[in-house]
């Protein structure tokens, strides 16, 4: 029983909940409006598209890869969607085509990484620029902004007495659905296995190449879906959409406890981290901190998340396999880092 309590306590998600509560208390002191129901419900709405991208990225990172092209994928897919819509096609049909394009861009990443075995960082750094360029080529002028209300309500509409944002429901639905895929299906298990030990996964008959391609397609599709919500929320589609959101997306994923080297992470963690990021940003706005100061805080949060994660896993591992420890002893700088970790985790 005590052990169980300890396990729950040491869970990353528990820390996130604590942090959310702490930031909530802080925000409440800044504005009496903060703790109203309408406000709390609306807190995450501007970051729903960030969350949807983070969910997609989570799949990629758990597999041990990275996709930094998602924001450009979002922009490229929504400008295509907008142009097709502006040409007179039904908005839902256009949205579907936009999604297919997003999936296609993800597939390009996936084939380069999965089939050609190229490093995902370099590939998606390239496609980050290429897709962004593509977005501007498709729609360089003013954005398209004539989307019907029946479409935009999924990004910016409200239910239940104008208080419950539909976008929030969309995000929770995806969190639930993708959470089930990640934690409850064979495919999800494949991701963790590949992310932890690709060779063992391959030897166990897991279709590694196919799965690695698929996660990039998922990441692309989620960027496409995030794009549709984005268009709904902001009412316009432009080529520079979401171009500054990468920091928030990566922070949500890493802060959510997804190990950057693959194999660990949970959907609830990412969801909680997203809420935390949204809350911190909102709190800082309430405190009238400038946008750049906010970025500093988010950047520090990202660094702290990794260092804390390192410390916790060091503490959790307790005694490391002797071999690993010995091998590290050789390099003095490393040895120093080691003792530091041990010292910190055993006060």
């Amino acid at each position: 029983m005590k052990a169980l309590a300890g396990r729950v306590l040491v869970r990353w998600e528990t820390l996130l909940v604590l942090a959310i509560i702490a930031v909530g208390i802080w925000s409440a002191t800044l504005s009496p409006f903060f703790l109203t129901r309408a406000n709390l419900l609306d807190l995450v709405t501007p970051y729903v598209f960030v969350g949807l991208m983070a969910f997609g990225l989570t799949f990629v990172v758990i597999t041990g890869e990275i996709d930094i092209s998602i924001c450009s994928t979002l922009a490229a897919s929504i400008v295509c969607f907008a142009q097709i819509f502006a040409a007179g096609v039904n908005v839902w049909a256009a949205a579907l085509i936009g999604l297919c394009i997003a999936g296609g861009l993800g597939l390009v990443n996936g084939l380069l990484v999965g089939v050609l075995n190229l490093p995902s960082l370099a590939v998606t750094l390239g496609t980050l620029a290429a897709y962004s360029g593509l977005a501007f080529v498709v729609l360089s002028g003013e954005g398209v902004a004539t989307f019907p209300e029946s479409f935009t309500k999924y990004g910016g509409g409200y239910l239940a007495g104008n208080e419950l944002p539909i976008a929030l429901l969309v995000m929770l639905a995806f969190a639930l659905g993708l959470g089930i895929v990640l934690h409850g299906t064979r495919f999800g298990r494949y991701l963790y296995a590949i992310g932890s030990n690709r060779e063992a996964a391959r030897l166990s008959g897991i279709p590694v190449t196919r799965v690695r391609v698929t996660v990039f397609v998922i990441s692309g599709l989620m960027a496409g879906i995030a794009g549709l919500v984005y268009v709904g929320y902001f009412g316009s589609a432009r080529a520079d959409a979401a171009s500054t959101s990468l920091l928030d997306v990566v922070t949500a994923v890493v802060l959510g406890g997804v190990g950057i080297f693959g194999g660990t992470g949970s959907m609830p963690g990412v969801l909680l981290a997203l809420i935390l990021v949204a809350e911190v940003r909102s709190g800082m706005q309430l405190a009238n901190l400038s946008g750049q100061l906010q970025n500093i805080v988010i950047g520090v949060l990202l660094l702290v998340a990794i260092v804390a994660g390192n410390l916790i896993s060091a503490a959790r591992a307790g005694s490391r396999p002797a071999k690993l420890h010995r091998r590290r002893k050789g390099v003095r700088a490393n040895a120093r880092a080691d003792t530091q970790v041990i010292a910190d985790s055993n006060p």
Partner: protein, 498 residues
């Protein structure tokens, strides 16, 4: 005075005694051969002497003074240099720079003195009689050349004690001759060379002193002149086949697997054999003989360049492990840490990994089914763990190995390839594994057993195949398969020598 003396050195890994109370001395200006089967404790001793690991017990004396070698740098300072079996090269750098990595010769301005570096490297390479220049990028070198590079690296250090672990594994006869000449030159300079090799004729040709290890214990240290190859073999293997191998009699059925002329260029060639239902076939040979590589290619991990496989009289093309699994093959890899297990996952997650389609419904996991599967194998293989949810990382080596075995048994294969199934596990686990293997064969499973432990091969197998240098060199029936016969075939010693 001895250059290095080992006194009562012991080292255990998780209950297994890798080195047990070993004492002997190494004299300067001699070539000291260290022989023993795989697992006899040679590598552990090398690691202790080079400061990679610390002994649990005993002491080391250098020039008669007790010395503590805590890390690789200290060993290096003391003039103890090891040349590793697996080369540690920088593929992007030139040969000269690989030789002098981390300790470039410097000019007066403290810059890298390329000319001196290349000249020095060239001189060493010339001594070795190699055909590549000091400026060649190492990426372009093959395994043999990298081996020579490793030797050059060791030679460049002015070592007092040079440890060479299987230096000739990948060399051509000509290169071996050059190496020998170099080693002799070193000996004349007063350097002590610890020479580890499976090739007894090399020991014959080179060694002044021979130390024989077996099961972690020191058996004998004698002048090489007093020992014939036959005696060395006898001392290496002198072990009784005890009750550790409870071989059940199984009914041997039809041929279920047929390999014909399997070839992977540069790794192995022209491998042909058959496996029958209920049969345990041992695949013996020294490390590097190509046994693991053959198994990996059959299982679709590495591609084959030629040859044909038939499983149950139908052709089979090993495209991927997934395809092999579908045809009823399973392969327990040699390296369980990197290839067998997903360490951060639970026992049940690992057990079900190869059979996920069977424990899912419409793609959804069924945790209860997975847990019961895991429990079944935990019981069958007596895995000691609190629950199926326990993370594999926290298990002992033996239990980890059992989980890997459980994973492959869960796949219900018809042909199971086991690569070193008891490597580095304790005696109890070993017995459990052997009992399971035997029992499975009795039930009609076909098993190809790769092992470097001869007693294991001989105790378990109905038939023994022996590989050497990428070739299948012998096929011995249970009656023919004695320790001496197998070692002779594996080492390439002529009948007359025994």
């Amino acid at each position: 005075m001895s250059l290095l003396e080992l006194r009562n050195i012991s080292k255990s890994y998780g209950g297994v005694r890798a080195v047990d109370d070993v004492s002997f001395a190494i004299e300067p200006g001699t070539v000291h051969a260290l022989v023993g089967e795989n697992g006899a404790g040679k590598s552990t001793l090398v690691k202790i002497v080079t400061g990679v690991i610390e002994p649990d017990d005993g002491e080391l004396l250098i020039d008669g003074q007790p010395a503590w070698i805590g890390d690789a740098q200290t060993a290096y300072r003391l003039g103890i240099v090891a040349m590793y079996q697996e080369p540690t090269v920088f593929p992007d750098l030139s040969v000269a720079e690989n030789v002098f990595a981390g300790r470039h010769p410097r000019s007066r301005l403290h810059t890298v003195d390329w000319r001196a570096m290349e000249d020095d490297a060239m001189r060493i390479l010339r001594d070795l009689g190699v055909d590549f220049g000091a400026g060649t990028p190492v990426r372009g070198l093959g395994v043999a050349d990298r081996q020579l590079l490793e030797i050059a690296k060791a030679l460049s250090t002015n070592a007092r004690l040079l440890i060479m672990d299987e230096p000739t594994a990948a060399l051509s006869p000509n290169e071996v001759d050059n190496l020998f000449a170099t080693v002799r030159k070193l000996r004349e300079r007063g350097v002590a060379v610890v020479y580890i090799s499976h090739r007894l004729e090399e020991i014959d040709a080179l060694a002044d002193t021979v130390t024989i290890l077996r099961d972690g214990r020191h058996i004998e240290t004698r002048p090489a002149g007093e020992l014939t190859q036959g005696e060395i073999i006898r001392l290496m293997v002198g072990r009784s086949l005890d009750a550790l191998f409870p071989k059940e009699e199984a009914e041997i059925g039809d041929v279920v697997f047929r390999a014909d002329g399997l070839t992977r260029r540069g790794i192995f060639a022209d491998i042909s054999f058959e496996l029958r239902r209920g049969e345990i076939v041992g695949l013996a040979g020294f490390v590097g003989a190509g046994r693991t590589e053959v198994a990996r290619s059959i299982f679709g991990v590495d591609p084959l360049d030629g040859g044909r496989i038939e499983i149950e009289d139908r052709g089979f093309r090993p495209r991927s492990p997934r395809a092999a699994l579908r045809r009823g093959l399973a392969y327990l890899p040699e390296d369980r840490l990197h290839e067998g297990l997903v360490q951060p996952m639970s026992i049940s997650d690992n057990t079900s990994m190869a059979v996920l389609p069977a424990v899912t419904a419409a793609g959804f996991l069924r945790p209860r089914l997975e847990r019961s599967l895991a429990r079944r194998f935990m019981q069958q293989l007596s895995i000691k763990a609190t629950s199926p949810a326990q993370v594999v990382r926290s298990l002992s080596g033996g239990n980890q190995q059992k989980v890997v075995l459980g994973k492959w048994l869960a796949a219900e294969p018809r042909i199971l390839i086991l690569d070193e199934p008891t490597h580095g596990v304790d005696v109890g686990t070993k017995a459990d594994v052997h009992r399971t293997i035997s029992h499975l064969a009795a039930q009609g499973l076909t098993i190809l057993l790769i092992s470097s432990e001869l007693p294991e091969i001989l105790g378990m197998s109905d038939r023994v195949l022996v590989m050497r240098e990428g070739r299948l060199v012998a096929e011995l029936s249970r009656a023919e398969a004695t320790q001496e016969n197998v070692i002779q075939a594996a080492a390439g010693v002529r009948e007359a020598a025994a």
